[in-house]
């Protein structure tokens, strides 16, 4: 262990220390990484890394290690009321918005549409895996080093969560508000936690309770075109304005 340099990354103000097996992994964290002392919180076993490489045959070894650290990091953050979540997250009108869905459902397309139609209105927080915090401090969205294929994200941008949008491809553009129980499974599915222990289940349940009591969750059935983006923008603007009015 002594030969592996220890690095630190902060997530929502919580430091996590890493040691890496692959020489190129540290570089993938870019400017978020600082050198640290002491024992790492996360140091994958060789077996775990080999499994990750087998599961991600198209990734270089350092890419496989980098991506496989998502789960281990999320597990550590859970005790702080935080977890990594699979979504495109952006800030607009002072609030963070999450677009979530299984891979390939059009999350990045929606964001790209937004940038084309309403330039400079939205700022990306994380293009793939933001940190959601649901703690005594409130429900907030923070950046992470995992920003997806396009590498879009802002390491300095955090914001209170405004709402969550679950995307679904369909034959029309339609936006509907979901009841908490309707979105429980889709949200749990996109939380990047293995839920290996009963304690982890309890932590995630507390987080989901706080999130669902704090913000609306919507489903956007869409064709992927600019009309759906305009429809979504209208609703998010309305929610942001109402929230702003309540806070005044």
């Amino acid at each position: 262990m002594a030969q592996n340099k220890v690095y630190q990354v902060e997530y929502a103000g919580h430091p996590v220390k890493y040691a890496f097996r692959e020489p190129g992994t540290a570089a993938l964290f870019r400017e978020r990484l600082t050198e640290a002392c002491g024992e790492p919180d996360v140091f994958e076993t060789e077996e775990f890394l080999e499994r990750a490489k087998r599961l991600m045959p198209d990734e270089p070894p350092e890419g496989a290690e980098f991506r496989s650290l998502i789960c281990l990091t999320s597990k550590l953050l859970l005790r702080h009321g935080c977890c990594l979540f699979h979504a495109v997250s952006f800030e607009m009108d002072g609030l963070a918005w999450l677009l979530t869905a299984p891979s390939g459902t059009g999350k990045s397309t929606q964001y790209m549409n937004w940038q084309r139609q309403f330039p400079r209105e939205a700022r990306m927080i994380s293009g793939d895996v933001p940190v959601i915090e649901a703690s005594d401090r409130g429900v907030l969205v923070h950046p992470s080093p995992w920003n997806g294929k396009e590498g879009l994200g802002n390491p300095l941008l955090s914001a209170p969560l405004g709402g969550i949008v679950i995307l679904e491809q369909g034959s029309e553009d339609r936006l509907e508000r979901l009841e908490p129980m309707e979105c429980l499974y889709p949200l749990l599915r996109e939380c990047i936690v293995l839920l290996e222990t009963e304690d982890e289940v309890r932590h995630i349940a507390v987080m989901l309770d706080r999130i669902l009591r704090s913000v609306p969750v919507m489903k956007l059935v869409n064709l992927g075109g600019p009309e759906s983006t305009a429809l979504l923008r209208g609703e998010l603007k309305r929610i942001a304005a109402m929230k702003g009015a309540r806070n005044e």
Binding site: L184, Y185, L195, E196, E198, V201, I204, A205, D209
Partner: protein
């Protein structure tokens, strides 16, 4: 009489006022990941978690919920045990 216990790894949670059983990873191949149950079932779940058998469940329910039909109550408890064990949320001792 069969005795049932809750499946290890299945946790009763409360999300937005609803009682939800959520299964940890080890339990998921055998039972549903997320199951919504009503208040009475949540009450029975907690008692089972504490090790209660069918008779103890009956006494606990009689005490908690006013009823003048113990046979119907026993039938309801048996139906609960049957349904939950069919879903593999309970295991038989």
């Amino acid at each position: 009489m069969s005795k049932f216990r809750t499946r290890p790894g299945v946790v009763l949670t409360n999300i937005c006022g609803e009682h939800i059983l959520v299964a940890a990873k080890a339990a998921v191949p055998d039972c549903p990941f997320v199951t919504r149950i009503n208040e009475e079932s949540a009450f029975l779940w907690e008692k089972l978690k504490g090790g209660a058998d069918e008779d103890e469940l009956l006494r606990a329910v009689e005490k908690e919920f006013e009823t003048d039909d113990p046979e119907a109550l026993r039938g309801a408890i048996q139906a609960f045990l049957k349904q939950m064990s069919e879903m593999h949320l309970l295991v038989e001792d």
